[in-house]
Amino acid sequence: MAFTPVSALIGGALIGASASMMLALNGRIAGISGILGGLVRPQRGEVSWRATFLAGLLVGGVLLALAYPSALRAPSATPIALTVLAGLLVGFGTQLGGGCTSGHGVCGISRFSTRSILATMTFMATGALATFVVQHVLGGKS
């Protein structure tokens, strides 16, 4: 893949702006796995803001599909069985570990949370390990 520093920084800044709105105005962490987890296990008073955030994500997806369609239609090279296994691991793991790339990786690190810094180091390391196994050991890439 080509190195795309400018779009990466601009996209990242928008993610940071979104997280900052949620924190400064609503007092909430914009952690996607936490927001989604609260919809799978709903509690009183905790559903509507999560549902509207999720609706916003999907509307944002529609805007992307209109303005920048290649962003959402990149074909996945991963076999479907591995994709399903990966989804299960991501769903279970983010709930057990209390966060994902957004909650720990962006919000937690910005708050200087030791838990989030360690979690981010851990998922970066096991992410690289899984990529190595899937791409180079199983996939036969050199």
Binding site: M1, A2, T4, P5, S7, A8, L9, I10, G12, A13, I15, G16, A17, S18, S20, M22, L23, A24, L25, G27, R28, L36, V40, W49, R50, T52, F53, G56, L57, L58, V59, G61, L64, A65, A71, L72, T78, T83, L85, G87, L88, L89, V90, G93, T94, Q95, L96, G97, G98, T101, S102, V106, S110, R111, R115, T126, G127, A130, T131, Q135
Partner: protein, 150 residues
């Protein structure tokens, strides 16, 4: 109402940011995690850009009494590092590196209706439900045995 509007707008901005940054392209994510192959460091800059913007707000929130449009901050208070944190992050990373999707980009990609995004999101929600079924059972056992433990 104001808070729901904020959540909606934040969701839209978050999704557009993910799309522009490259995070919704699984091959791009795998290129970032493929440190022994043709490594593409772009996505490190997504994190740098996001933290660069968010850091000041996050530090302000540690001192502020309350957010601007809500009564109180609802933030994680825990500071202890336990096995669940590390094991959970490890499992999450294994899934992320396998498919190239983390939760946000996967949800945004639902709009593209690709089989990969649909399969990933369905199994991700199943994984979340399995966790909460286990956690619920643990809580019930813990409540049953409160009289015998400290």
């Amino acid at each position: 109402m104001k808070q729901k509007l904020v959540a909606f707008v934040a969701g839209v901005v978050f999704a557009v940011g993910l799309g522009i940054s490259g995070m919704t392209n699984p091959a791009k994510v795998i290129g970032f995690l493929d440190v022994t192959g043709a490594w593409d460091p772009s996505l490190a800059l997504v994190m740098a850009g996001a933290i660069g913007v968010h850091l000041g707000f996050a530090q302000w929130s540690r001192k502020a009494k309350r957010p601007l449009w809500a009564d109180a901050f609802v933030l994680p208070e825990r500071a202890d590092v336990d096995v669940r944190l590390i094991a959970g992050a490890a499992l999450f990373g294994l899934g992320w590196g396998t498919a190239g999707y983390c939760p946000g980009p996967a949800l945004v990609s639902l709009v593209g209706l690709t089989s990969g995004a649909l399969a990933f999101c369905a199994s991700m929600v199943a994984g979340i439900a399995v966790f909460h079924a286990f956690a619920g059972a643990r809580r019930e056992r813990a409540e049953d045995s409160t009289s015998t433990t400290i």
